[in-house]
């Protein structure tokens, strides 16, 4: 296994997963709602979303434990939708590891191999190899009970790939571990998946974890994929309020998109917020539509005193908001300012310690500014929801 992976690591050719309009209903609830997703061989894709958003259901549909009501699942062009789970040949790591308590670590890892009627000696040898890949070769004789949480997780990982599947599914595999161990294992999982050149579909609700590990992240919301893209795409160019809010910390101001006299988001109260000219078109919004502007805290800067030119920057390249400083939070390397903004809402500004002029900001009257290029305009409701206008109405 180790040998083959070294040769193939550069160009994985197998393990292309394709979900085509997959839907699963529980009564009236769309647990998974018309999800289509193509994962390239060797790609690491994370399904990220709050609990109950359908990501685990999607994973179980891929694994074959749940039958979709509509749509197909295909691996390397082969339709798996009607194939029994034990004939799919897909590896899976379960949330609580699901190690067999009556078998040793090595027996657990060898289980999928003996199920494939591989001779005993070979099973032992390959189980040992798989365990050495997760650096547990010395603990093969231990029972799961005798292993720590992190070690159990590694055994579960080794078991999931010992039979060389093209695709690995992971259902919040690190959820039960403490933070430090989780961070170490994130890199470990990443290293192994690269080494095996295996396609991975990973479920988590931890957005930091998804940013660390994934080639692409699919943001789930109420059974649908709200946006899919690299971590950078999602952080820098979210398309919806939900995505902007879920990935990273954001300052969000909701209002109506307007083109005149200058491109801006007009809020119910307070000054309009200047945005880039093409910002609305990117997400298919036209003037008059409900929209929100998203600005990341580290892109904002803060200074003492009131804004001098009102809402618009002098040359149109800077947006600003006036407000009153409510809190200053010291975070070691950073400082976080929480500002009550004129016209409602808050601005969280993150400034690196040592930045010039920071020490002068003591409030209460402050101005928050940012380059308008750092404003991202997003839709303020789920546009695919069709008749669902309750969200925008309530705003």
């Amino acid at each position: 296994m180790a040998e083959t992976s070294n040769q193939e690591a550069a160009t994985p050719t197998k393990g292309a997963l394709s979900l085509d309009h997959v839907t699963k209903l529980y009564g009236d609830l769309h647990a998974v709602d018309d999800v289509s997703l193509d994962v390239a061989p060797g790609e690491f894709v994370t399904l990220l979303g709050p609990s109950g958003s359908g990501k685990t259901t999607t994973l179980r549909i891929i694994g074959g434990f749940i039958q979709p009501d509509a749509g197909t699942v295909a691996l390397d062009g082969r339709d798996l939708t009607k194939v029994q789970p034990y004939k799919r040949g897909i590896g899976m790591v379960f949330q609580n590891y699901a190690l067999f308590p009556h078998m040793t670590a090595a027996e657990n890892v060898g289980f999928p191999l003996s199920m494939r009627r591989i001779p005993k000696d070979e099973v032992k040898k390959r189980a040992r190899e798989a365990l050495s890949l997760v650096r547990l070769e010395h603990l093969g004789d231990r029972y799961p009970k005798q292993l720590s949480g992190g070690q159990q997780q590694r055994v579960a990982l080794a078991r999931s790939f010992s039979f060389n599947p093209q695709l690995l599914l992971m259902d919040e595999p690190l959820g039960a571990l403490d933070r430090k161990l989780r961070e170490a294992l994130q890199l470990e999982v990443l290293r192994i998946s690269r080494q095996l050149a295996v396609t991975v579909v990973y479920v988590t609700h931890d957005q930091e974890e998804s940013l660390v590990m994934s080639d692409r992240i699919a943001i789930y919301n109420e059974g649908r994929i709200e946006q899919i893209g690299s971590g950078e795409d999602l952080y820098e160019r979210p398309v919806s309020l939900f995505v902007a809010d879920f990935v990273g910390e954001s300052n969000i101001y909701r209002g109506t998109l307007q083109a005149e006299p200058y491109p801006s988001i007009v809020r119910a109260e307070g000054d309009p917020i200047r945005v880039p000219a093409d910002a609305g078109a990117r997400v298919g919004l036209s003037p008059g539509d409900r929209a929100a502007v998203v600005v990341r805290p580290e892109r904002m800067s803060i200074r003492q005193g009131e804004a001098n030119e009102g809402g618009a920057g002098g040359d149109g390249s800077v947006a600003s908001l006036s407000g009153r400083l409510r809190e200053l939070i010291y975070l070691g390397s950073d400082r976080k300012y929480v500002v009550d903004v004129e016209g409602g809402g808050t601005a969280v500004v993150r400034v690196q310690a040592g930045t010039e002029g920071v020490d002068a900001v003591v409030g209460p009257e402050v101005t928050v500014t940012w380059a308008i290029g750092d404003s991202v305009v997003v839709t303020d409701f789920a546009p695919r929801a069709g008749g669902d206008s309750t969200l925008s109405a309530e705003a």
Partner: protein, 262 residues
């Protein structure tokens, strides 16, 4: 929790304990008597009545019958009970709670009702006084005990383990034999031991089913005690008590092992 119990409570508990255990202890002590009447305390100690038991064909035949009935009834009850528990815990079918009640009814219905019913039916079917009749009747009594114990094991079994087995390439049958069965084994063993004990000292149904040629040990004991009292019965009581303690300890041990395992 570490508070010392009140002295009065200690006295009460000890008295109740003595009250419960004393008859058994007295009988066992009397079984070592050398006299031909039951007297306490016995003036001399010996194994006379134990020898007498094993030398008497009436006792040994009944013992052998009891062993056969108990082993066969236990095997039947264990297989059927385990499968039933799986069906009840995993299956989805209409009237499930009614079926559950029906399955457990031998534990609830007064034993004498079961005995009379079985008797009437078995006389009709010519099963009264046969080994097969005993096995069927005792298996029915042991069956709910197996169901209850296996169901308890299944309740604590992590369904993800079975899902994992399927994911790793095990079909339904191998998932059951390699994963589910080994993990619920403590419950199966406990249920089997309870079923064995149920058959082993069952007297009411057995009395109805017995014929002069097919009698289990408790039936013979009951018959003998009614006509004559000799310390053989005390010797037998000693042996039965020991056996029951061993089996019950085994059943409890199996249960606890199961709890630790998962």
């Amino acid at each position: 929790m570490n508070r010392r119990p009140h002295p009065l409570l200690v006295v009460c508990v000890v008295l109740i304990g003595v009250f419960l255990i004393a008859p058994t202890v007295i009988v066992i002590i009397m079984s070592f008597s050398t006299l031909s009447s039951l007297r306490f305390p016995p003036p001399d100690l010996g194994l006379r009545w134990y020898r007498n038991f094993w030398a008497s064909p009436e006792w040994t035949t009944a013992t052998w019958t009891s062993v056969k009935v108990a082993v066969l009834a236990t095997a039947t009850a264990t297989v059927l009970g385990t499968l039933t528990a799986l069906g009840l815990m995993r299956g989805r079918f209409p009237l499930k709670s009614w079926v559950t009640g029906l399955v457990l009814s031998p534990m609830i219905v007064p034993i004498v009702i079961i005995a009379v019913g079985t008797y009437i039916l078995f006389v009709d079917w010519r099963l009264q006084g046969t080994l097969f009749g005993f096995v069927v009747a005792h298996a029915c009594l042991g069956f709910p005990l197996v169901v209850v114990n296996v169901a308890a094991s299944l309740q604590t079994l992590d369904r993800n383990l079975e899902m994992a087995a399927q994911n790793l390439g095990a079909g339904p049958i191998r998932t059951f034999t390699k994963i589910t069965l080994p993990l619920i084994m403590p419950g199966v063993v406990a249920g089997a031991l309870f079923a064995f004990i149920e058959s082993w000292d069952e007297v009411v149904v057995s009395a109805f089913l017995a014929s002069p040629f097919m009698r289990t040990l408790p039936v013979v004991m009951w018959t003998v005690v009614r006509s004559q009292i000799d310390p053989t019965i005390a010797a037998l009581a000693g042996m039965l008590t020991t056996l029951t303690i061993v089996l019950l300890s085994g059943a409890l041990l199996a249960r606890n092992l199961g709890k630790q395992g998962t």
